[in-house]
Amino acid sequence: MDHGGHAGLAASSAALVLLLVVLPSLGLAAYLFGAGREQRAQGWSPWRTAAFAAGVGLICAAMLPPVAPWAHGDLRGHMAQHLLLGMFAPIGLALGAPGTLLLRQVPVATARAITAPLATPPLRILIHPITAALLDIGGMYVLYLTPLYALSQDNGAVHVLLHVHFVLSGYLFTWSIAGPDPAPHRPGMRLRLAVLFLATAAHAMLGKIMYGYGYPRGVAASRAEVEAAAQWMYYGGDLAELLLAAAFFALWFRRRAGLPEFIAGRATATG
């Protein structure tokens, strides 16, 4: 790597600390303030607060030592970082229901102004579970199977965008599948289950492709390191998707609406 590359990466490190340590921490401070007010007003589950705090904690952990320096030179470290940023942290953030908290804190007119754009066609398409899955899991296919990953190692801006994309697309996907925050015109639970099923399968397939055929390419990593990283992705992804599936079914069993009769039983159709 040349000298310019190092300088570029130093600048990108500063940007990453700002975007993925300072900003989330400020977000958590705002959340705690809101949750405290809400707790006194109409009650706010401490589990939601704990989930959101865990999500922010995992983002910060991924971007600070020891994970961040490890990710710098080791593909396994990168994969640990990727799992924390893109899969585990978003589950915590989404289960924290920050949208619900925000909407309860602001006047009704402001709340309407915030949610109105979500009903417009471009945003409706963006927050659709299928789009979210394509951005999240599809993005990983593009990252690891094309030279994009190697590029992100040398280009500071790509490096920063990549990490921010992990968090945003991970959050979007988690929210669209199992987020307790409401969204206008969200598709039904069966479609969301189908997307979760296909996305989990796609993630597992990508892990095996990377292991079997040695992706990402063009990086200074031994074959053993690539294979280990791919297995980390596979099994780490399993654990995250297990949690996501649990969040999804928890939501569905609580609502019960639309649960098939062979799952919910006949007696529950009325209740």
């Binding site: 289950l193 979760l196 099923f197 296909l198 989990t200 399968a201 796609a202 597992a204 397939m205 095996k208 492709i209 292991y211 079997g212 294979e227 297995q231 596979y234 399993d238 998707e241 297990l242 599936a245 649990a246 079914f249 928890a250 069993f253 062979f262 799952i263 919910a264 039983g265 007696a267 529950t268």
Partner: protein
């Protein structure tokens, strides 16, 4: 009993289905944890795997994961409604576990040839033990199923 009014009649079908899903998921998890990782008998990925097999393996893996979680939620739901029929549930667990073991042994190992039980010259004893274990689990499940039906019969 105070809860008697809320108590639903025992639901052997849902009890069996819930535990059966858990049986499938647990067998898949044991396969992944013990045979792939701890013993390292199974290979994570055979490079001879065809694209179709890789694709179906991914779908199957995803289905196992979702089935395991759904099974636990269903079982918790049946229990919360006091409709759990425990013998039926155990029957379902063993039938699910054995059925999946047999499916894995025949479809994954032999038809799709994703990987083998162990990479040795004489594979036959391993295949027989693998599928024999599946048949044994299935047999236990069917014995329990008969018992569950016998338990219910006099009350009806």
């Amino acid at each position: 009993m105070a809860e008697a009014a809320e108590r639903e009649p025992a639901d052997p079908r849902r009890s069996m289905l819930a535990a059966g899903l858990i049986g499938v998921g647990v067998t898949a998890a044991v396969d992944e944890i013990v045979f792939h990782q701890l013993l390292a008998w199974h290979h994570f990925f055979d490079r001879s795997t065809s694209a179709v097999a890789l694709f179906s393996d991914g779908l199957l893996h995803s289905a196992e994961l979702i089935i395991l979680v759904l099974g636990f939620f269903m079982l918790a739901d049946v229990r919360a409604r006091r409709a759990l029929a425990s013998t039926s549930a155990w029957a379902g667990f063993f039938i699910g576990a054995g059925g999946f073991q047999l499916f894995d042994g025949i479809v994954d190992h032999k038809v799709l040839r994703l990987h083998q039980v162990r990479y040795v010259d004489n594979l036959l004893p391993y295949d027989l033990a693998w599928n024999g274990a599946g048949l044994l689990l299935l047999a236990v499940g069917f014995v329990l199923l008969r018992r569950a039906r016998a338990e219910r019969a006099p009350g009806r």
